[in-house]
């Protein structure tokens, strides 16, 4: 059983990291524990630093930004923002099973988001500032509510997707967006990967105002799903549907009760019993990704215009599907059945100057090497 600390303040968290660094003891930073299987395995004797008690939400006076402490469940933050008609444009699956436990710190550390990224951009685009604790016991703050002048890489964006390997995220300053009032979605199906790719390009080009634009695919057939928002959502969705028909999609329909459709897309980004690969690719390579998925009997959901696909597949198929992906695509294994952890390399990144730069960054932020060691690319 690992030893654990649950700091109640930022200074306690920083002190816990400094104490661990003094002993050379690795630290595993834990939020809602919904993604602990992502990335490489931390050393078994690591001290677990739980952010659970760093849970606070403060909406700023402008009503358009907020500070969220790292241990706050994202679902609670969204409920708070929704009372003022606002939202954080981050919509990952909140966890496996029924417990919506994912915290803002964990979501940020893994850069996990969902269909809304089509309109609002990646998670890093929602960040205005960040507060982090480093392994030397210091606390760094950046953002518009501090007097820190940025000069160098943006700290908030660098910590987004860093898997806790640079330090512990304590709080994040985010921009809020108005919750779209009415929404409607157009959907259509295809039985050919090329046809789906061509239709996706046509829809993305004709409708730059979409809220979300996704693909779903399984065993040689699938479809596109496009959401629009605003008072005239249904009318707009019908024009999107017309574009889908012009693109050769079949079974084209418009739905105004679309919440369930998008919940299914988000659910496809996690897998409790199969492996889950997240693939980044050129948007024009969507058909190649779908072929690679079919070769390993993988189920796909993804962002049709962003070049992000989530492939759920059986563990023995991972190597062949990775090999079938286009050269320029990059695949990370996220969820893995517990029996496969350790046997599957999650990152698959080649040595090179890019990895050297990342090691330099790690060394600069965490010279003691105690923050989530071994979890990230290149055994960082």
């Amino acid at each position: 059983m690992s030893e654990a600390v649950t700091p109640r303040s930022f200074s306690e968290a920083a002190a816990a990291l400094a104490a661990a660094a003094a002993q050379g003891r690795p630290v595993r930073i834990v939020g809602g524990a919904t993604k602990l299987g992502w990335g490489g395995a931390a050393p078994p004797h690591a001290l677990h630093l739980h952010t659970t008690h760093l849970s606070r939400i403060a909406i700023h006076e402008d009503g358009a930004s907020a500070t969220i402490n790292a241990g706050t469940p994202l679902v609670r933050a969204q409920a708070t923002f929704a009372r003022s008609g606002m939202m954080l444009a981050a919509d990952p699956q909140f966890g496996l099973g029924r417990a919506p436990a994912a915290t803002i710190g964990g979501v940020l550390a893994t850069a996990d988001t969902g269909p809304l990224s089509h309109r609002y951009g990646p998670l890093r685009s929602q960040i205005r500032g960040i507060t982090v604790a480093l392994s030397d016991g210091s606390i760094m703050r950046t953002g518009p509510r501090t007097d820190q002048v940025q000069d160098g890489l943006d700290l908030g964006r660098l910590f987004t997707g860093s898997y806790g390997t640079l330090g512990a995220i304590l709080a994040v300053d985010v921009r809020l967006r108005a919750v779209p009032g009415r929404t409607a979605s157009a959907l259509g199906t295809a039985t050919s990967a090329e046809q789906l790719r061509a239709a996706a390009e046509l829809v993305a080009r004709a409708h730059p105002e979409l809220e979300a634009f996704d693909v779903a695919w399984r065993e040689g057939r699938g479809g596109l799903l496009a959401q629009v928002a605003g008072d005239a959502a249904e009318t707009r969705a019908r024009t999107v549907a017309a574009t889908m028909r012009a693109g050769g999609l079949q079974d084209v329909a418009v739905r105004t009760d679309d919440a369930g459709l998008w919940a299914r897309q988000r659910a496809g980004q996690r897998s409790a019993d199969r492996a889950l690969l997240r693939v980044h690719h050129r948007p024009g390579q969507l058909d190649s990704i779908l072929y690679a998925a079919d070769s390993g009997a993988a189920t796909v959901v993804g962002r049709a215009a962003l070049g992000i696909a989530y492939l759920a597949l059986d563990v023995p198929q991972i190597a062949s599907v990775r090999a079938a992906l286009p050269d320029e695509a990059a695949a990370v294994a996220l969820d893995l059945p517990s029996a496969a952890r350790g046997a599957v390399q999650p990152w698959n990144v080649a040595e090179g100057p890019e990895l050297e730069l990342m090691r330099e960054l790690k060394q600069g932020f965490d010279p003691a090497g105690i923050c989530n060691p071994g979890v990230f690319v290149g055994s960082i």
Partner: protein, 209 residues
């Protein structure tokens, strides 16, 4: 040979004789930025024509331990485009090729003027109100740019890296905007078009056939 003179000779071999400027009259154009017109005169202005030439010049500067300042169109209001002391100036305005435009992604060399970005049906590449300056300069100076998806980056030792946002590892390309040259020189930039603002009820009216 003195280090500065030796670097100028090396830069001429790398970039071509005519792309390394040392004549004080010609150099005086590089004393100005978005605010000042009377900044210090640089020792030389070196105008590389490609990413690999930038990498070679930076490597030569590193080996000679000579300071340099990187500049686009010189429209910065932060002072970042002006040399200090007798620093060399690396000017990226010859690097103005559009490398690739595929769907909602555009890859350009850093010296492409903002006003020359090709139109896109997918939204906007960068803030459409910003029309002065180059893509590289705008990104280096503006922290609020969130749609950089890949970067060609020349580091202070002259290493040329290719960084993709979203690929495994730290999101260095995403964290680069606003770094003001501290993280290296962006030599190529890939942008993803930012969708248009949500249509207003008036603009949602669908033309009748």
């Amino acid at each position: 040979m003195e280090a500065g003179a030796e670097l100028i000779a090396r830069a001429r071999l790398i970039c071509g004789e005519q792309h390394v400027l040392t004549n004080p009259t010609v150099l005086s154009t590089y004393r100005s930025d978005g605010i000042r017109r009377d900044g210090p005169l640089p020792r030389a202005a070196i105008l590389p024509g490609s990413a690999s030439e930038v990498a070679s010049v930076v490597k030569a500067c590193a080996e000679s331990q000579l300071r340099y300042v990187v500049r686009g169109a010189g429209t910065s209001r932060s002072g970042a485009a002006l040399p200090n002391g007798d620093a060399m100036l690396i000017v990226l305005t010859r690097m103005r090729r559009v490398i690739r435009m595929a769907g909602a992604e555009l890859t350009v060399e850093a010296g492409v003027p903002l006003a020359s970005l090709p139109p896109t049906p997918y939204g906007a590449w960068l803030d459409p109100h910003e029309v002065l300056g180059t893509v590289g300069g705008h990104i280096a100076e503006t922290g609020d740019v969130g749609n950089v998806v890949a970067l060609g980056l020349v580091r202070p030792d002259g290493t040329h890296l290719h960084l993709h946002s979203g690929f495994p590892g730290y999101d260095i390309a995403g964290a680069f905007p606003g770094s003001r040259g501290r993280a290296g020189i962006a030599v190529t930039v890939t942008l993803r078009a930012v969708p248009l603002a949500r249509a207003t009820p008036e603009s949602q009216a669908v033309p009748q056939p």
